[in-house]
């Protein structure tokens, strides 16, 4: 067989000694031939490329591991699946089967949860924008509404009047836990006394009953201690509210924000080293509970974890469409999946795995998406061996946020499949076609091209 011609380039040689890439960068490569015993070849053959693949096994294992970490430390724990992280019905259903309730932040998500069969009383309704109509629907179906601002108190009092009964609600809080940036735009501030004032206002109104507190200190929090501070402040406030206004605080919702094992751009250490184990978070949170709870009191601890549950269960299979050599000598590949369907590429440096054994020395490479846009870069600097056209790269972890934040931009969104625990592969979202894109589009008659020409 004739060797393929390539323009010669000069590469700096590095020894196998200590260096920032770990051991032997020239020949180390990650190979993945299948996901949950289903081969990549079969998947692509049947469902095309690019292709999102979710592993049911990983989803369940991850949920159980995280659930066990908390439930074996605190006797009253509930997980709420954060819909915005991934609201494909199949994914939500897996978590609901495992016992999670739903956490939604919009009327659309609320409707999605209801359609999936989640009863109203198992839905937490969060977010700074809830229309009066949405509030009324949620309240009448028994949803747990978390109040974000004073105006929402007025709205809910209106709903209470209309329904002719008192409504149980929770207060969303924000506070300084030592994490920067401090998320202070949601809920009522604890440190300034705003939260207590809101409670007083609610008590005074006499139409709402505070039965829970909620706070979400941020996202991708790498410092477990921050949650300890959060829990302490929340429980102190809870008892203050109980003592002063005689409300019974039934649950403490500490939000989510646990990181997944993904590498943030600009970080040096690998996530295995930089991301604390879920047990560390559980330990800090539950010890803060034991330290601050009154004897015999076990309010429900609610966690709204999203990313940490789902991220590692998602893979994106892409195929190399072409390669080129950049002016600076780096190798560049164009693959069939771009930032439009891989939103998290803006802040993650993904793990790239190759679907087969490949010969040759690794070289600095760039992976571009297929869009005709300069920003469409999947990885701007990685070490890859020379890859032929048609080779597949498996990008992970991609389970969180991508299938909710993705854009339909100049192309169709691909199939999403789930490799089931039973070994079966199911399509959980079909690839789009032109009909999907144009279904809602209308062309006024006078603009019809055929009519113009006639």
């Amino acid at each position: 067989m004739r060797m393929k011609y390539e323009t010669p380039v000069i590469q700096k040689c590095q020894t196998g000694l200590m260096n920032k890439f770990g051991s032997c960068p020239h020949y180390s490569r990650k190979i993945r031939t299948g996901i949950d015993d289903v081969s990549i070849d079969n998947l692509v053959e049947k469902y095309g490329s690019p292709l999102f693949v979710f592993s049911e096994k990983t989803l369940r294992e991850r949920f159980r591991e995280i659930h066990r970490a908390f439930s074996t430390r605190y006797p009253n724990v509930t997980f709420a699946w954060s819909y915005k992280t991934n609201y494909l019905p199949a994914i939500c259903a897996v978590f609901h089967q495992e016992g999670a309730i739903a956490e939604v932040v919009s009327e659309m998500e609320y409707d999605k949860a209801r359609k999936l069969g989640v009863p109203g009383d198992k839905i937490i309704f969060n977010g700074p924008y809830k229309s009066l109509h949405a509030l009324e629907k949620a309240v009448s179906e028994g949803a747990m509404v978390h109040i974000d601002h004073l105006d929402e108190i007025y709205d809910l009092e209106k709903v209470a009047d209309k329904l002719g009964r008192k409504i149980k609600v929770a207060l969303r809080l924000n506070m300084d836990t030592g994490i920067r940036p401090q998320w202070s735009r949601f809920g009522f501030n604890v440190d300034s006394g705003q939260a207590m004032m809101a409670a007083r206002r609610i008590h005074h109104g006499g139409k709402l009953i505070i039965n829970g507190l909620h706070c979400h200190i941020g996202t991708f929090i790498l410092e477990p201690d921050a949650y300890g501070v959060q829990v302490e402040k929340m429980l102190k406030l809870a008892y203050q509210i109980e003592d002063q206004f005689k409300f019974g605080i039934e649950y403490i919702d500490i939000g989510g924000g646990f990181p997944s094992k993904s590498k943030l751009k600009g970080t040096y250490l690998s996530p295995d080293l930089s991301v604390p184990a879920i047990d560390d978070y559980a330990e800090k949170i539950t010890s803060a509970f034991y330290k601050n709870l009154r004897p015999g009191d076990f309010p429900r601890l609610i966690l709204e974890s999203g990313r940490v549950m789902v991220d590692e269960a998602g893979y994106l299979i892409t195929t190399i469409h072409s390669s080129k050599r950049m002016p600076d000598g780096r190798k560049a590949y164009v693959v069939d999946a771009g930032v439009n369907i891989l939103f998290t590429s803006f802040w993650y440096k993904f793990k790239l795995e190759i679907d087969r054994e490949v010969q040759g020395v690794n070289e600095p490479s760039i992976v571009y998406g297929p869009l005709c846009m300069n920003i469409d870069v999947i990885d701007e600097g990685c070490l890859l061996p020379p890859l032929n056209r048609g080779t597949r790269l498996i990008v992970s972890p991609v389970g969180a946020y991508n299938v909710t934040q993705w854009l339909q931009f100049i192309s169709y969104r691909p199939n999403v499949v789930l490799t089931g625990e039973n070994g079966k592969v199911d399509v959980i979202r079909e690839a789009e076609d032109l009909l999907d894109i144009e279904r809602r589009e209308r062309l006024p008659e006078h603009l019809l091209l055929s009519s113009k020409s006639s």
Binding site: R64, R73, P75, D121
Partner: protein
Amino acid sequence: MLSLSLRNSRAKNDRAISNIDFSKIKSQIALYTDAIFKSYSEIFFLRSRTVGILLFLTTLLNPHLAISGIISVLAAYIFARLINMDQKFVNSGFYTYNPLLTGLAIGYLFRINLLTVFFIMSAGILTFILTVMLSSLFSTYFKLPILSLPFTLISSVTYLASSKYTNLFVTGLYPNLTPGILFFENYFPFWLAGYFRSLGTIFFLPYVIPGIILAVAILSSSRILFLLTILGYYTGTIFTGMLMGSYHNAFMDINHFNYILIAMAIGGIFLIPSIKSYILAIIAVAVSTLLVKSMEVFWLNYGIPGFTLPFNLVTLSLIYVLGLVNYPMVAKLIKSTPEETLDQYLSNLGRYGGTKRTLSLPFSGKWMVWQAFDGRWTHKGSLKYAYDFIITDDQDKSHNNNGTNLTDYYSFHKPVLSPVRGRVAKVVNSLPDNPIGQVDRTHVWGNSVIIEDERGFYVAISHLSRDLIKVREGDWVERGTLLGSCGNSGYSPQPHIHIQAQVSIEIGSSTLPFSFVSYSTETRFYDNDLPTENTAVESLYQDKCLDIITSFMLDDRLTYNVIKDGQKTGEITIIIKSAPDGTFYMDSGKGKLYFGKYEGTFYIYSYEGRDENLKSIFLALPKLPLAYKDGLKWEDRIPVDIVATGFKKRIVQFLSSVYGNLARTSCTFAFLNNKTIEGNVSARILNIEKKTRVELDDYVGFKSIKVDNLELRRVKNEQVRG
């Protein structure tokens, strides 16, 4: 009945303030008559006003007798009011049936005139004083009732005294034969007439006619008691007859009423009615024949009949001995009839398992029972009452990786929570966690915390991790207080929690049986039980939301529309009240439903009165876990009295004394969601199959209770908190 009229009168007071005096007088009269009639039925161990009235009317067969009895009770009653005795106790009839018997005894001998009235009154008061005193002494020192001992003593005393009261004899003595009372005497065979006569003698009417009336009264109230009167009488009499050689004479002896009383007391009242209690009753009767005859010989020398002395002696001695040997079938709660006592006992047997040493599981989440009581490795001999727990994963492994490091084990460093409330009595906190593969044979128990439970035992938790123990000796801990972390100190091949109840503060002292409260295996809830080895159990700590919903407060009023087949048929208001013993109950005006919370479970304990609506609440929610888990299921067994009515119920309750599981109700309940509970109540023999559904309110109590086509739907009521 008494409480019913009490409440009725109270309700009337509330309604008609202008009529307050009238209703007060009326209620007072109701109270007095109630107390008097109850004294009559108490003689047959019954607490029914109706039976009391019937018995009173029977005594009217001899007016002197009847009036004498009434005078004696009234004298005692007025005396009790004079010395400010608590009305509640006097009204029960418990203290006044002895004076009544004394009155009857005197009336049997003397006709009513001014002189005898004084005589009766003084005897009545004396009996009453003796009753109060003896009953206090007996219950304090012997844990025994006094039965009719005061009556026997005082009647003997009055009979003795009267022999010296010549004046009384001259004016009072009369032939107490009411005309016509002997009418039936010769129409019955001697063995039947003897039974009726003996029965009549209990009310000093040793004739067939009153005997028949009394037999009917007993039969109508309790089939079990009626059976026992027959068993007792014929056992005793036939036995005596054999010894005497003349059955005719034996059946003529009216003193054989003692056999009837003994059989009733032993077989149906103080023991749970069962084959065994019937056998014990027969034995008691057989041994009492000695006493009856010897007494006749001895006592008659002094001109006194001996009254109920044999009954008192035999019954009291036997109950005392049964109590001494901790005989399990001694009735702890004596209801108004043996049938009810039995029903309650059987239902309690099915409802409340476990022991009284109730512990919460000492951890959070789902753990596996590694070793239970009488385990295969170390829980043996005096150390057999202990449990070991570990955490396992879906593959039943207790560790991830290869399990060579302590940190591989899921249980390692998981929180250990206090299973009881009490004071920390001892803490050992000096031993290292052994690496996997090594055990500490010297300090077998490892680091331990020993808690002294208020109820008089100790709980030890062992193999904790050094330096992570959070409590010190002398600390007060509640259920669920963090004690420390699971470790691998002591004789521990892998990190686990060892827990035992024990007799003393010492490490390794003898263990005691105990049970766990409020836990689940998969989706099955257990309120008080023992999980078996290799089952995964999850501790359920009280959920604040359910706790708040079931926190009724005194004077809470809950109004419900009663809806039958979709049509409103009425309305009931339930008021939360508290009984003298501190138990809370729901009062609907027509009945009472006793309820309470015990270690993580809400229970409806018992029901009394006549209110189908309250019964349906019992039926739909006899037990409610105060912790929520999706699909959580539980079982229960409710009394036959709640599900069945009429003739069928009576037959089944009677036969239950022979075969306890005959009318077993099988009740299963499950959470449909955190506000809805669906249940199924069935009893095969009764051909009952009921579907129940309860919707809990958002704030307090239930929004709706549904049993088949009957629904109670809450009416918005401003008098409820929330």
